[in-house]
Symmetry: C2
Subunit: 144 residues, 2 copies
């Protein structure tokens, strides 16, 4: 008797484990969301993009649930929110320190290569505050 290892369910187990590890209950919707986010390299996504990606895969998840869980994932450190454009929230699956190119023509975000940016003399923050994060965005427009 041959035991069939199903590739798909193995992957779901991996995503499930990832969520449990972060104290997030692995529901059907969260696993679907995680599979969009955490498979196939880092991404910069909006809630709408995720809903339509899920819809294409016949995985129906409501927009409200996508929003709720993008924030839930952000809270536990699986995602990082990027403030490039106030018309729309972007989330980044790469939570390490890095900057972004923001292409104002296409609305697309790309990571700035690691070693490309260096900063020295980081200033001390005013008002007894702590530095939470340094955000660097290089805004791009069409070549003249």
């Amino acid at each position: 008797m041959t035991i069939m290892y199903n590739k798909k369910s193995l992957e779901m187990d991996r995503l499930s484990a990832l969520l449990i590890e972060q104290g997030v209950r692995p529901t059907r919707q969260r696993i679907a969301l995680a599979s969009i986010l955490f498979e196939g390299g880092h991404k910069h996504v909006t809630a709408e993009q995720i809903v339509s990606a899920l819809r294409q895969r016949k995985d129906k998840v409501s927009l409200a649930t996508v929003y709720n869980n993008l924030h839930a994932f952000t809270k536990v450190g699986l995602l990082r929110e990027i403030a490039v454009d106030h018309t729309c929230s972007y989330f980044d699956t790469n939570t390490t320190i890095h900057g972004h190119f923001f292409d104002e023509v296409s609305g697309l975000i790309h990571d700035i290569p690691d070693q490309a940016l260096h900063m020295i003399n980081l200033p001390t923050p005013p008002g007894g505050r702590k530095i939470k994060r340094v955000d660097i965005t290089i805004r791009l427009c069409a070549e003249v």
Copy 2:
């Protein structure tokens, strides 16, 4: 006969000239807006803040007009928009190159002192685009 030079109207003439210089028609509302923005040092403001500042001075300007003219001023280079928070648009009267502290506790923005930040190795942008601007935001949270 004594000619009275009114301090207030002299200042209005200065603001009027500033607007005309930029090809913007100096209406009552725009001069009021300019006097909030361009008197007494650089500022980081939201549309709502301006409306309430104007209201306190008994200078009534509608929210729609404030928005329209914040954008009009930005277009001619009198202001710069800052993307720190997608819940709200901030405008900066300092249009020179500089970074910002964004205090997530108070929602206040402060300039980063000129020489405090230095960047080297600015990367080349992808996709045949041109660098429009480099935005550096140091996000602050409460001290632990």
